[in-house]
Symmetry: C2
């Protein structure tokens, strides 16, 4: 059976080509439930079977140990580390001494000119990604780059805090709701000063009116993160009101706990049907249907891999300046300025993020503020003894044989060859960032082919997707279950932004907001 | 499909009757691999499907929450707690005020006369149980009876210590081995004084030569536990020697980690094929074959339930005195006397434990030393708002309708009725202990029907059983894999006890060692 599946497993590039072309074919498949459900089940399993569950490796051992399963303080590993007694840092190929990480950043990562995201993805998308992934990418820097302190999955800890203590601080203990305050006639999270004990990370001087108490300690760093934190907080409280309407006898605790279950469900629904749909750019409509896996061999557990963390460092998406309602803020006047959201209001802020194009996830597109993160990524990839970029492709049966295959930019190809000598000697993150863009897609192929499995596995393996959770009563009955099953990005914002009219809520910047210099061929909006 | 399975699900009593009778039939089934494998797969699934995985409930909420899945500090719950607003402590039935726990202990649990285990189980069995289960029953008394501090499963933490720090203290860092010392020409764990920092629990005055550093902090309490700790330590070191023979190039770390994987495998093999086989007393040979589950819908994760912990409080198995090679030690001269094992040697000690009969797990058979534990169990069962005993039977489709069904001892039945009033008002542990013995079995039916699922689920869901672990290379190649696949209780002791001849190593006391007063009808030895 497994051999048969292996035989039927299509080549990644063929499958991708199929999925981003032949729109007429997909519109048929999408409209026939039997076909689309079968294909969706296939996608769930194809992706999640590529992930070891339970995990086999950590960064501490290049062979199987019980620690990999039991010691949650480790990140898992997609591929085991290069053994320490290998002839080169990449194993057997490549240079004996890797290039100075600073040189790698300087020559491969540093933004020379802002490269817009060719599918015209908006900043609303970029911040969605950042807000979502920080709930599970939590490196424990004190222990080292192979360690983490999170819950290894989509546990909504970015909304409710990293543990029960913080959760309790954020709760109002009234009607299940989270604490809020009203500023400029809108509901926002409380100031940190009003909720002592909620850990938040600040850098440099940050004014008290920019210091909010949020579910994740980094979310004060970017107004876009603060916007999402605000919207999800409002959504939780809105859901509690809905639950209270149908269950007037419920106490605060039950409203809170059930609201949290609904928020996890909504998160996954939106991530799959809005966010993953956008990232994949498939004509096939990807759907969130946990029931499709209930009769399949599938593990409802998840572990975050170190490679997934590195792969998801999409800092090139950040522009150097932000246009909020016509006012341009250089990034240094934007970070740690949550009060900009309060000043403009969530409606205008959402609209502005929907109308500004993000940067392309590619070589030479790291803005000056994030180059230090790229440096750190290279250095940590070496400490973690990541296998070379091409081994991750080999593992998925589509290796490169030469630099000109990796990138279609001859200058980047030449730089890679100069820095690494051999196509099998290229570092993981350097390869990922340099990869040529895939047909009709935001990313190179490996981001999709590695990220897909880790994402699908993480999303579908949450407890709520398991057979005994996935039923109306878990979510407070049909009312709650329907909130989950009909959630969308648009509803999430629309229902939580005051006023009669919704702003533009879009992961794609509309054509009228794209400067002619940033227009591109083969973009989402130009497609058939 | 699920409905079909439900229909095919046999009545627990019918199935049990089949399994403990018709020896001729079973000898045929056992000898035909196809039949026995199919039936074993059925048993694995029947048992493990009875356990919620991921778990749905903790003692903190009687409805589904994300905490049940994510907050590992809770024990899970088999059935949710009785809601606090119910009319009686047991829900709707039974008395409004439960009897004083001291009265329950006095009238239902207190040993009047030692009742021998009717299947003639030995003390070697009793200590096997105690040694094995303490790795996962770890109540966090500071937080309360609903909380625990363990790893929720068969993680061999009782051999290697509760965390990496203790594990490191116990390791010699030479050839993968654990630290040892030689006493009376045998290898034993080191004294606690020689390994500062290993946490051990002592009560009263304990001499330094009784204070050993062991994997579990309670294992200094009983010489039988110390015997098992010693044997498993020797086995780990023996396995490391075997591994080093085939992998002379391996370093200490790899030998240790791989040895630990083998020890986990051996543990499960012995628990299923020796221990569970004995407890079940089935004529069907139960087997440890993880590969049978690799194509089935099965979750490789486990959570210890509070009811499983209470159900496994088998203190009646402890006698009041211990006969070691003809010398009789009252229990107060036996506890915290690990040096008795050293004095007599592991061979004589093992032999003696194999020849002494354990107590019966039944009403009025708690020795004076363990009555306080029974009291604690009743009190905590109330704090945890356990549903009544009969609800657990209802949940398995075989409820009792009257007290005379629960027990065949009219006096116990009358006491239960007096204390609880209603068959649906009997407390969980009181019911479990009072239950009549099942046909050809050590226990009442509910212990088997509840314990079976929790046990099978816990054993088969360990990471080593999962498809990507269960292969020779995980265990250092065929040599290690074969050690796991051929492990037995007899080998475990025989290979680790010095001398040419093995002692008696048996979970059943041989007929010649059973005092005539303790002979019983329908015992294992008397069977056809």
């Amino acid at each position: 059976m497994q051999r048969l599946r292996r035989l039927l497993k299509p080549n990644p590039e063929t499958l991708h080509h199929l999925l981003v072309n032949y729109k007429w074919l997909w519109s048929i498949i999408n409209s026939v439930t039997f076909l689309s459900d079968s294909l969706m089940t296939f996608v769930y399993l194809l992706r999640s079977n590529a992930v070891d569950s339970p995990p086999l490796y950590t960064s501490a051992h290049e062979y199987i140990t019980l620690e990999a399963s039991y010691n949650l303080s480790y990140y898992a590993r997609g591929l085991p580390a290069v053994p320490t007694d290998c002839p080169t840092p990449m194993g057997i190929k490549g240079k004996r001494v890797l290039p100075d990480p600073k040189i790698v950043v300087e020559r491969l990562f540093k933004r020379t000119v802002f490269k817009p995201e060719p599918m015209h993805s908006s900043l609303l998308l970029a911040y969605f990604a950042q807000h979502f992934i920080h709930q599970f990418f939590k490196t424990d820097h004190q222990k080292g780059p192979g360690f983490q302190w999170g819950g290894h999955g989509v546990d909504v800890s970015h909304v409710y805090g990293k543990n029960k203590h913080v959760e309790n601080l954020l709760r109002s203990f009234q009607d299940g709701k989270l604490k809020t305050q009203v500023l400029n006639n809108e509901e926002y999270p409380p100031y940190q000063a009003d909720v002592p004990g909620v850990p938040m990370t600040w850098m440099g001087q940050v004014a008290d009116n920019n210091k909010f108490a949020l579910g994740h300690q980094f979310f004060g760093m970017m107004p876009g993160l603060f916007l999402y934190a605000t919207i999800w907080m409002r959504e939780h409280n809105r859901v509690c009101d809905e639950l209270r309407r149908v269950h007037p006898e419920w106490d605060d605790e039950r409203l809170f706990q059930t609201g949290k279950l609904i928020i996890q469900g909504e998160t996954i629904k939106i991530v799959i049907e809005d966010y993953v749909q956008h990232l994949s750019n498939y004509h096939f409509l990807v759907t969130f249907k946990p029931e499709l896996l209930h009769t399949e061999v599938f593990q409802y557990q998840n572990r975050i891999a170190a490679e997934f963390d590195h792969m998801y460092r999409w800092h090139p998406l950040m522009p150097d300046e932000f246009n909020i309602s016509g006012v341009v803020y250089p990034i240094m006047e934007f970070i740690f300025k949550s009060d900009l959201v309060v000043k403009y209001g969530t409606k205008v802020f959402t609209d502005s993020l929907s109308r500004q194009i993000a940067g392309q996830m590619t070589a030479r597109n790291h803005g000056f503020l994030t180059q230090s993160v790229a440096l750190d990524t290279i250095e940590n990839g070496r400490k973690l003894r990541f296998q070379p970029y091409n081994n991750y492709r080999k593992n998925l049966d589509f290796p490169h044989t030469k630099f000109s295959e990796l990138t279609d930019d001859p200058e980047v190809a030449a730089t890679l060859e100069e820095l690494y000598g051999d196509i099998d000697g290229v570092e993981f993150y350097a390869g990922l960032l340099s990869e040529k863009r895939r047909e009709n897609n935001m990313f190179g192929a490996l981001v999709i082919e590695m990220g897909g499995p880790f994402s699908v596995k993480g999303l579908m393996s949450t407890p709520i997707c398991s057979p005994r959770y996935w039923k109306p009563s878990t979510f407070g009955g049909d009312v709650g279950f329907n909130i989950v099953k009909t959630a969308s990005l648009e509803k999430l914002f629309c229902k939580n932004i005051p006023g009669d009219e919704c702003p533009l809520i879009s992961f794609v910047v509309p054509p009228e907001n794209i400067p002619s210099s940033e227009k591109c061929e083969n973009c989402k909006n130009d497609e058939l």
